[in-house]
């Protein structure tokens, strides 16, 4: 049943990806190649034939699926390169700055959020306020300000890029500020959700019964409440991994880092539609995989789902 849901979703979204450039105003050819491509007429005709744009939509649609099956994501005339290797090359850098924050943010956010939801104190209120402010700030705005303060004014970190010399220390120096920022963002989201979740779970009878059994305060939180309260976080963190390649979009822009996010940004700037669509396709696949993984983990942690 669930599998059918994923297959249908994948089918619908990929079809959407086919439909968008053809349904949008303007010449489909331009919509598929990108706007900064200037070609002479004979070449245009040739490409048009090659891409099957003369064919009826039904056959174009079949061709589209055949290309996907062969991992052929098209050709970027802007970068003069097929889209797939371009994307793959950028992915690893994005992974480098995105994966650590997701893990740090998940651990930090759920732990602190759980404690804050369990017992209210002056400290937890202040903590909540700080995370709330981070949660409410557009990521790029906070990134801009931090870059201005720590890079421009204090000169503690480089202003742009992944590396200058390429040594490990040099790379860490470059990525430390973006990684810290993204960790804070991820932590703040998880903190808010986990805190609310614990506040809700706290009212449950099983918590009272755990206390009646003689469990001490923190034992109740970590042996009983935590797992129940963390269930909603599972899906969110899994989805974060699904969005891992686009999640760093703004950070990469502000810090001028040549990752997937920046690829998407330059594709936007030059209206390089093949790259844009290829990236969208990769993100879609990742997000749907993440949904599957979330369901599996959820099933392991919540017997009620598994039992059904």
């Amino acid at each position: 049943m669930n599998l059918a849901r994923y297959v249908i979703s994948l089918f619908v979204i990929l079809s959407l990806n086919f439909a968008i450039p053809r349904a949008m105003p303007g010449d489909t050819m331009t919509n598929l190649l990108g706007e900064d491509v200037i070609l002479d007429d004979t070449l245009v005709q040739e490409i048009r034939r090659e891409m099957g744009l003369d064919l009826p939509l039904r056959e174009q649609y079949l061709m589209y699926w055949k290309d996907i099956m062969h991992l052929n994501l098209g050709y970027s005339y802007h970068f003069h390169s097929p889209v797939l290797p371009l994307v793959l090359e950028r992915m690893k850098w994005t992974l480098l700055i995105s994966a650590p924050p997701l893990i740090v943010g998940a651990v930090l956010g759920t732990l602190l959020g759980a404690l804050a939801g369990w017992r209210e104190s002056m400290r937890s209120r202040l903590q909540t306020l700080i995370f709330l402010i981070i949660y409410s700030t557009p990521p790029y705005f906070l990134a801009l300000m931090s870059l201005y303060i720590f890079g421009f004014q204090l000169g503690w970190v480089p202003m742009k890029g992944f590396y200058t010399t390429g040594s490990a220390g040099n790379i860490i120096h470059h990525i430390i500020l973006p990684v810290v920022l993204m960790s804070l963002f991820s932590a703040s989201r998880n903190y808010m959700i986990m805190r609310g979740s614990v506040i809700q779970e706290r009212q449950m009878l099983y918590v009272l019964y755990a206390r009646a059994k003689g469990l001490y305060d923190s034992q109740i939180l970590f042996r009983h409440v935590f797992r129940n309260a963390a269930l909603p976080i599972i899906t969110l963190v899994a989805l974060d991994f699904g969005f891992i390649f686009s999640g760093a979009l703004f950070i990469e822009m502000v810090f001028s880092m040549r990752g997937m996010g920046n690829l998407i940004y330059s594709a936007l700037l030059y209206r390089d539609y093949p790259v844009l669509q290829g990236s969208f396709l990769v993100i879609t696949l990742m997000v749907i995989t993440a949904n599957v993984v979330a369901d599996v983990i959820y099933g392991i942690l919540d017997p009620r789902v598994r039992g059904r």
Binding site: Y209, A212, K213, G214, Y216, D217, R227, D302, G307
Partner: protein, 309 residues
């Protein structure tokens, strides 16, 4: 010395709609191996007493008075000291067993938990012991399942096992028969009585069902609107009620023809002045609405009524 003694115990909840006086000036005592039933309508404060003894009330509750258990005042203990008493010395059985278990843990892990935290034995032997107890209850194999996979009755048996696994000296059963059908009621009571006798515990049985009280308790306390109105030997009190409320409660039981008590349960925020039962009482006198009657002690029976002075 009594096992448990409540001295002028009062519980007040602060809520958005005002202060709810859930229990006022409750005094009672419980001997070793004795069973005391607390009866009354829903919302009369009987469950509050149970939770106050174990200090399980929510944060918006304020408690005054004292709860003397084996010579120590439980209300004066630190939270950590109290945690050592809960589950080991004093245990409770809740009325909604399916919600009292954690949905994401196996029954077996939850039943063996008191062994783990109070005795510090190994996980393996705790599980073994819990498994033995489940088998004795006829729940073979249920331990590997999760609460949602068990029926309400099975969950209840599992919870009784869990609450009595450390042979507590005092067992509190909070409405253990509520929501069960007739056949199940007797089985549940039978089980509670047998774990009580096996561990030589005293029992506080909280119920709205007078038949349950009659069949299983030595003494009974009748509560109305947060107060004890009558207390004494169960057969005496229920056989010949002295307080009009006890009488009315008895008449409202199914086998007596379901005659409802006239009027509504009073507000706990601003309870009636004088005797709290006077607005619904058939024997109301002038003094009843003016002055609050004391709990009068005479020959093993306490009654809070101006007619019984």
């Amino acid at each position: 010395m009594s096992l448990l003694e409540l001295r002028s115990l009062s519980v007040t909840f602060s809520t958005p709609s005002g202060f709810v006086k859930a229990a006022s000036d409750v005094a009672m005592s419980l001997e070793e191996h004795e069973t005391l039933a607390i009866v009354g309508e829903t919302g009369c404060g009987k469950s509050v007493i149970a939770n106050a003894i174990m200090r399980l009330l929510p944060e918006n509750a304020s408690i005054t008075g004292s709860v003397i258990y084996r010579g120590m005042d439980l209300l004066k203990l630190s939270e950590r000291e109290m945690a050592r008493i809960r589950g080991r010395e004093i245990s409770i059985i809740f009325q909604n067993p399916s919600a009292a278990f954690n949905p994401v843990h196996r029954i077996l892990d939850q039943i063996s938990e008191p062994l783990l935290i109070h005795l510090g034995i190994s996980k393996h032997s705790a599980i073994d012991e819990a498994e033995g107890i489940l088998c004795a209850l006829g729940l073979n194999g249920a331990g590997r399942l999760y609460p949602f996979q068990l029926s309400g009755g099975m969950n209840q048996r599992a919870m009784i096992a869990c609450s009595s696994i450390l042979r507590p000296r005092l067992l509190i059963a909070d409405e253990p028969t509520k929501g069960l059908d007739h056949g199940m009621v007797n089985a549940a009571l039978e089980l509670i009585r047998s774990v009580r006798d096996e561990s030589g515990a005293s029992l506080i049985l909280i119920t709205h069902d007078l038949d349950v009280a009659l069949s299983s308790s030595d003494r009974i306390a009748v509560m109305y609107c947060g107060e004890i109105v009558e207390m004494g030997k169960t057969e005496d009190v229920l056989g010949d009620p002295a307080h009009p409320y006890t009488e009315a409660l008895r008449e409202s039981m199914p086998d007596r023809g379901f005659r409802p008590i006239p009027g509504n349960t009073p507000s706990m925020v601003s309870p009636p002045a004088g005797c709290r039962f006077h607005p619904r009482c058939a024997f109301k006198m002038n003094i009843c609405s003016r002055e609050r009657p004391p709990l009068n002690n005479s020959c093993e029976r306490s009654v809070r009524c101006w007619r019984c002075i």
